[in-house]
Symmetry: C4
Subunit: 251 residues, 4 copies
C-alpha cells in the first residue's frame, strides 16, 4: 500500500468529526433562526456557533501546515479559505455533510445514475432547508418584506428552485436576493440533472430494446476476438502438424 | 412454466378489479369536490369512498399474509402502507390506474419512447386533474384564497406544472402548498422526460443520417463474425481435404 | 418509378396552393384582429376567410373520396376533420405553411439538427404570432382583461413560451387560457428541442475530440471487414495455387 | 504553410485591439448608465463612445475592401453591418470580447465540455451585466417603471435568465421588453447547455462504469485489427516458408 502523507491522514481522520461539527452548526443555526432565543440561551448558541467555526479554522490551519508545498496548497484551496473567513459563506461549511451522503451511497451500490440522483436529491433538500433559514433570517423584520415565517420561506424556496416563481413571495433585501440567486442556480442544475439522468436512461433503454440497432459494446468485440484467436490457434496447430508430417519430403 | 406463488396469483387476479376500484374512487372524489353534495347524497358518497378504501386495506393485508417472508415484505412495501394509511396520500391510490395505461400500451407496441411518452402524458393529465380537485377542496372557502372554482384550479395547475407560474393564482393554505410542490416536482419531471425523449430521438436520427459516423451496432459485429466463421470453416475444410490427399506421403 | 395513386397526386399538386391559402388566411386574420375593420371591409374579410375555409373543406372531401379505403382514411385522418370542422382549431390550418419551411430547408441541406432547429424556430415564431393575435381577439374588451394591445399580447406570449411568466399580463377568459396552455406546451417543447439538439451536438463533439474513447463507427467495422476479406482471398488463392502444384504427388 | 490573404492578416492583427476597444466601450457605457454624468464629463464619454464606434466602422470597411469578392463578403457579413449600423445592436459589439475567453481557455485545455461551460458562464455573466445596464438606461425615468436602480436591474435580469420570473420587476417600455426577450432566449440556451453538458457527462460515466455494456470504441476495433494482421502475417510467412520447402517436389 502507498504510504499516506500526514495531510492525507489528517483529512481521513477528521472527515467524520468535521461532518458532525457541520451537523451541530446546522442545528445551532436552525435554533437561532427558528427559536429566536434571548438572554442566556442566545449567548450559549453564539458560543457553540463560534466553537464550530473555530474547529473549521483549526482544520484549515492544520491542513495548511501539513501540506508539502504550503504556497501551492494555499493557492489551490483559496475556496476553503473563503468558506472559513467570510460570514456569508458560512452555509457552505455544510458541504462537509457530503460524508453522510457517502455513507448512504454504500446502500445503493455503485450505480452511476443512482449516486447522481442521491447527491442531487439530498443536495436540493439541504439547499431548500438552509436557504429557507437564511432568507427568513435576512428578511424578517424588514419593513415591507413578504417572507415573515419559516413556512413562507420554505414555500418561497421551493417555488424558486423549481423556477416556477409565482411572485407572491420574493426577497427585498440584497443578502436575501443573493440567497435567491444561489437557489435559482441550484434550480437550473436540478432541472439539468433530472433531465440528463432521464436522457441517459432512455438512450440505454432504447438501445436495449431495439436489438437491430443495439450499440456494439466492448463485450461484443471481445467475443469476436475470442473467435478469431480460436481460429488462428487451430490454423497454427494444423500447419505445424503438417510441417511435422513432411520432414521426409525430399529436400 | 415457473409456478407462481399465491402472492403473485393474487396480484395478477386483483390488478383489474383494483384499477376499477381506483376509478370509482376518482369518480366519487370528483363528485364530492365538484358537486359539493349535501344530506343523503353526501353520506352515500362517503360510504362509497370508505368502501373503496376498505378494499385497498384488504388488498394490503392479503398481500402481507401471502408473502413468504412477511417481515421483509413489510419493510419493502412501507410505501404501500403509507398510501393506505395516510389520508394525505389518498390520491396515490390512483397509481392503480397504471393498468389502464398498460392496456393502451398494447396498441402502441413495444417502442420504448412511445411507451415513456404514453405514461408521461397520461400521468400528467391525471396529475393535473387530481391536483385541481384537491387544491379546490383545500382552498375553497378560506378567506383570501384565490382559487375558488374548478376552472381556476385547472388553470393554476397547468401554469404550475409547466413552471410558468404567473402568480395570478397560488395556494395560501399549507395542504394547498404541499399539492403545489407535488405539481412542481411533476413539472420538472415532465420537462425532463420531454427533453430526454427528444434528445434520444435526435441522437438516433443524427446517427442514421450521418452514415460515415454511424455508430457501430451489434448487427454490424454479427455480420463480421459470420464472415470470419465462413472463412474459418472454408480453411478447415480445405486443410482437411488436403490432409486426406496426402496419406500416401511417406511417414 | 412506383405509380402514384390519385390521392398522392392530389396531395402533391395541392401542397403549394393550400400553403398559399393558409398564408392568405393568416393575413386576413391579422387584418381582422389588428385593424378591427368595420362595414364593407369587415364583410369582405369575412368572405375571404370563409372562402379559405371552403378550400380546406374541399381538399378534405377530395382526399377522402380519392382514398382507396375511405373508412380507414376517415379514421386515420380524424385530426384533419377536427382542424376543418372546429372554429377553435382554425389556427392549425397554418400547419400547411410547413411547405414553406420545406422550401427553406433545401438551402440548409440534409443536416438533421439544422432541419430540427429550422422547424422549431419557424414554428415558435408562428406560434407566438398567431397566439398573440388570438389572445388579443379573445381578451380585448373584457372588463378587467390585462392584454389590450398587440404589443402587450406579443410580450405576454413570449414570456409564456419561455416559461418565465412574470404575471404582469395573463389571460382571464377561458378561450384565452386554452391559448395560453397551447403556448406553455409549445414552450416546454421548445426547451426540450433546444436542449436535446445541444446534447446531441455535445455528445458528438466530445466523441470526436476524445479519440481514445471515440465510439466505434460502422466505417471502422467496414475497414476491418475489408481487411479480413483481403486475408481470406489471399489464403484461398495461395491454397488453390498449391493444390494446383501438387496433382503429381503420388496418390 | 498556406499563405494568408490580406483579410486574414487584418483580422488576426486587429483581434486583440478590437477586444480592447470593446472593453473600453463597455467601461464607457457602464459609467454613462451608472454615473449619469453631466456637462464636460458626459461630453467626453460621448466622444469616447463615438470613437469606439468609429473604430468598428473602420474595421468593417477595411475587411470589406480587403475581401476577394466584395459582393459575396457583403452578403455573408450582413450581421456585422447590422451590429455596426444599428444603435440597438451596440451591445453585440461586445462579442469581440470572445477573444478574452479564448485566452482563458488555454488554461483549461482542449476539453470540449470545459470549453462549452467556460463560454456559457462568461457569456451569461456578460449578458446579465449588459442587460442590466441597458434595461436601467431604458426604464429609469419612465413613469410607472419598476426598475429604478442598478441593483434592481441585476435582480430582474437574473430572475429572468433563470426563467423564474417573480413579476416583482418587469420592463414596461418596448426597448426594455426587447432586452427582456434576449435575456429569456439566453435563459433557455443556458438551461439547454447546462442540461446537455450534464447529459453528455452522465452518458459517458455510465458507459465507463458499466463495463459489460461499455460502448465499443475505435480503440477496441484497432486492437482487434492488430490481432487479425498478426494472424495474417504469420499465415503468409508460414505458407511461404513451406512453398520454399517444396521446390523439389516433382512438377
Amino acid at each position: 500500500m502507498i504510504k499516506q502523507t500526514w495531510g492525507q491522514r489528517w483529512e481521513q481522520r477528521t472527515e467524520w468529526p468535521l461532518a458532525i461539527v457541520a451537523l451541530i452548526f446546522l442545528a445551532v443555526y436552525s435554533v437561532q433562526v427558528l427559536g429566536q432565543p434571548h438572554g442566556r440561551e442566545a449567548h450559549d448558541l453564539d458560543v457553540a456557533s463560534w466553537v464550530a467555526w473555530g474547529m473549521f479554522v483549526v482544520d484549515y490551519l492544520v491542513r495548511l501546515s501539513l501540506a508539502p508545498d504550503r504556497r501551492q496548497w494555499f493557492v489551490r484551496h483559496l475556496f476553503d479559505l473563503l468558506v472559513v473567513a467570510l460570514p456569508l459563506m458560512r452555509p457552505l461549511r455544510l458541504l462537509r455533510l457530503v460524508v453522510l451522503v457517502g455513507a448512504l451511497q454504500k446502500a445503493i451500490g455503485n450505480v452511476v445514475r443512482g449516486r447522481i440522483l442521491l447527491y442531487t436529491i439530498s443536495g436540493v433538500i439541504l439547499l431548500i432547508y438552509v436557504a429557507s433559514l437564511a432568507i427568513l433570517d435576512q428578511e424578517r423584520g424588514h419593513p415591507g418584506a413578504k417572507i415573515q415565517s419559516f413556512g413562507e420561506a420554505v414555500w418561497w424556496a421551493i417555488s424558486t428552485v423549481t423556477t416556477v416563481g409565482y411572485g407572491d413571495q420574493y426577497p427585498i433585501t440584497v443578502p436575501g436576493r443573493v440567497i435567491a440567486v444561489l437557489l435559482m442556480v441550484g434550480g437550473i442544475s436540478l432541472i439539468g440533472v433530472v433531465t440528463a439522468s432521464l436522457a441517459s436512461w432512455i438512450v440505454q433503454r432504447v438501445a436495449e430494446t431495439d436489438t437491430a440497432n443495439q450499440a456494439a459494446t466492448a463485450s461484443h468485440i471481445e467475443e469476436l476476438r475470442a473467435e478469431i484467436q480460436a481460429l488462428s490457434q487451430e490454423l497454427r496447430h494444423e500447419l505445424r502438424a503438417r510441417s511435422a508430417d513432411q520432414p521426409s519430403s525430399p529436400r
